[in-house]
């Protein structure tokens, strides 16, 4: 790699002929690890200056100074957020929306279930509903005497309830 440009910049740096921008280029160059041996002796100078630039006062010192001149130190400000009525009701909207979805799905499922039963009945296929009804009818048919006796009792009682 050709370091001629850097070497020229460095020569001008020693002679105080570089601009601030050119000095920034040199600083950036010497921050990298891969510096040729011929330029290595100067690397520590730029790194040292970088480190010096990071020296600073503590936050406590700054707070103390502000108090000394009668200003309050900067505090962490938590900005209050304005919450609108619509925003506050958002959870309810969500709950209502969820319920509406569940009801729609339930209704659709029930509708589909009913239609399937009807369709099966129309096709002569025994469905769960039809089979239940047939079981009830069978139980009634298996007790004809009891049924007729109950009917007779009912008709007499009903007639007695009305004045002749």
């Amino acid at each position: 790699m050709d370091y001629k440009y850097i070497e020229q910049l460095l020569e001008r740096y020693w002679e105080c002929q570089t601009t601030l921008e050119e000095e920034a280029i040199l600083r950036t160059f010497f921050r990298q690890e891969d510096v040729p041996a011929s330029l290595l002796p100067y690397r520590q100078l730029f790194l040292e200056e970088d480190e010096m630039a990071g020296e600073h006062l503590s936050k406590d010192f700054q707070d103390k100074m502000l108090r000394m001149v009668g200003e309050e130190p900067a505090v962490q400000v938590c900005k209050a957020r304005r919450v609108t009525f619509m925003r506050r009701c958002r959870p309810f909207y969500r709950a209502a929306g969820l319920i509406a979805i569940l009801l729609t799905i339930g209704n659709a499922a029930h509708q589909s279930f009913t239609d399937d039963g009807q369709q099966a009945s129309d096709n002569g296929q025994p469905s769960l509903v039809n089979s239940q009804w047939s079981m009830v009818n069978d139980s009634i048919a298996s007790r004809p005497e009891q049924q007729s006796a109950e009917l007779k009792t009912l008709s007499i009682d009903t007639l007695d309830a009305f004045p002749r």
């Binding site: 520590q44 100078l45 010096m52 020296e55 006062l57 100074m65 001149v69």
Partner: protein, 163 residues
């Protein structure tokens, strides 16, 4: 100048002032005291802030004078760079031990005469133009360049000779 306030205009200068005071006094506690005195002095002049062209240059001049006063009062002189010659007489092991305690380059820079050290700080660390440095130190731009050239040449020679 408009909207000058201690918090937004003067306080942001405190780290720069601290670095300058530290390079002169070489002592953190003393440098903090210098910055505190400087900031209070600037605060005392608050009625004149509108008339001061460059408040930063004003603060830096106060800071430097205060730091130099402390040095003078303590009877300390700036170390001469020639005294750094003893580094080259150290064995490699001794040099390694010394470098672990404090960088040799930093000691080299700290050993420069105060005005050269201050100008090098303002240019290389704070990124000031020659014109700004001249205004801060109350000297001409040509003088700034002469002092800076001397400082860089000394550093270069020492680095070339392996300290």
């Amino acid at each position: 100048m408009e909207n000058i306030s201690f918090r937004t205009t003067v306080m942001p200068l405190s780290d720069k002032l601290f670095r300058l005071a530290l390079r002169i006094t070489m002592n953190r506690a003393e440098a903090e005291d210098v910055v505190q005195d400087t900031l209070l002095k600037v605060w005392e002049h608050r009625s004149e802030w509108e008339q001061i062209d460059n408040l930063e240059a004003f603060a830096i001049a106060i800071c430097r004078n205060r730091a130099l006063d402390i040095q003078k009062r303590a009877g300390r002189n700036t170390e001469n760079l020639d005294e750094m010659a003893h580094f080259s007489s150290q064995t490699p092991h001794e040099q390694l031990v010394a470098s672990e305690q404090i960088s040799l380059v930093r000691r080299l820079m700290d050993a420069l005469p105060e005005v050269q050290r201050t100008i090098m700080l303002l240019r290389d660390i704070e990124g000031k133009t020659y014109q700004e440095i001249a205004a801060m130190l109350g000297i001409s731009e040509t003088q700034v360049k002469v002092y800076l050239h001397r400082a860089r040449t000394k550093i270069k020679d020492k680095l070339n000779n392996g300290l």
